[in-house]
Symmetry: C2
Subunit: 141 residues, 2 copies
Amino acid sequence: MTERASPPAVADRLHSAAIHLLRALRREDRATGVGPAKLSALSVLVFGGPRSIGALARAEQVRLPTMSRLVAALERDGLAARTPDPADGRASRVHPTARGRSVLHRGRARRVEALTRRLAQLPEADRALLSRAADLIEGLT
Amino acid sequence: MTERASPPAVADRLHSAAIHLLRALRREDRATGVGPAKLSALSVLVFGGPRSIGALARAEQVRLPTMSRLVAALERDGLAARTPDPADGRASRVHPTARGRSVLHRGRARRVEALTRRLAQLPEADRALLSRAADLIEGLT
DNA sequence: TGGAGTTAGTTAGCATTGCTAACTAAATTG
DNA sequence: CAATTTAGTTAGCAATGCTAACTAACTCCA
């Protein structure tokens, strides 16, 4: 067996852990009735501010047609709206609606709650470790 | 701002980190031509040993029909096989084929390559921290 | 021991979310 | 101004979730 802390071993186990974590959280996400991809895009709009569909696609690391469809769905659901870009007739700016903000915040609270319950049972030191790990993981990409 | 190591704060950042990590790794997974759900199930079979479809569904936190279809696909691809459970006529045991093992190991190598390069640049202590974090995350669910 | 209920798995059908290919329309560039 | 690039859309496919409804086998108990 490869050493547990060797780069490939850590990469693989992190990958597994991330998959299982998100699967567990997906249940909570489902309660919003919005779907993870739309919720994530909405989150970028709410916390990162309005932007074009292309910029949103880059932020979410998906292709333009995928984001085009997600934005259309968000718009249909009344969670986001498009306004034409004054400087570029091809582009539009997407921004969250009031309802979009509200749904996101409620969903986020629900989602975080489930994980929070489990995290709260960990010793403080473990929680600090996970906090540090979250930063390291974000820094990797 | 809530304290960084408070349960809700860690929950939220961990969730974000997991999403972004998986997005980055998804590209690598695609190169195997197998798909993440099948790859993950196959990984359980290879590293955790043969088991029933139901047990596999529980391990992967998906519903029985979803796993039933994944196993059927793995079988069609020649990556896993079913044998009847001698003790229970309803159940079957799923096990990886030689080819399944080989594909998994090659896929694993490919998948971790990109991440491994980055992990390799971290100080040993950070890598150990992430290794520990992976275990903690798995233990949460 | 035989019928009721439970459990394992399948099938069918739907929704979401990825992708590429092919298109339109607007902007840029030589 | 023609050629190219860029933003976005549409269409169509594949993977992967789900629930509902079904079959077959097992278990339990009167």
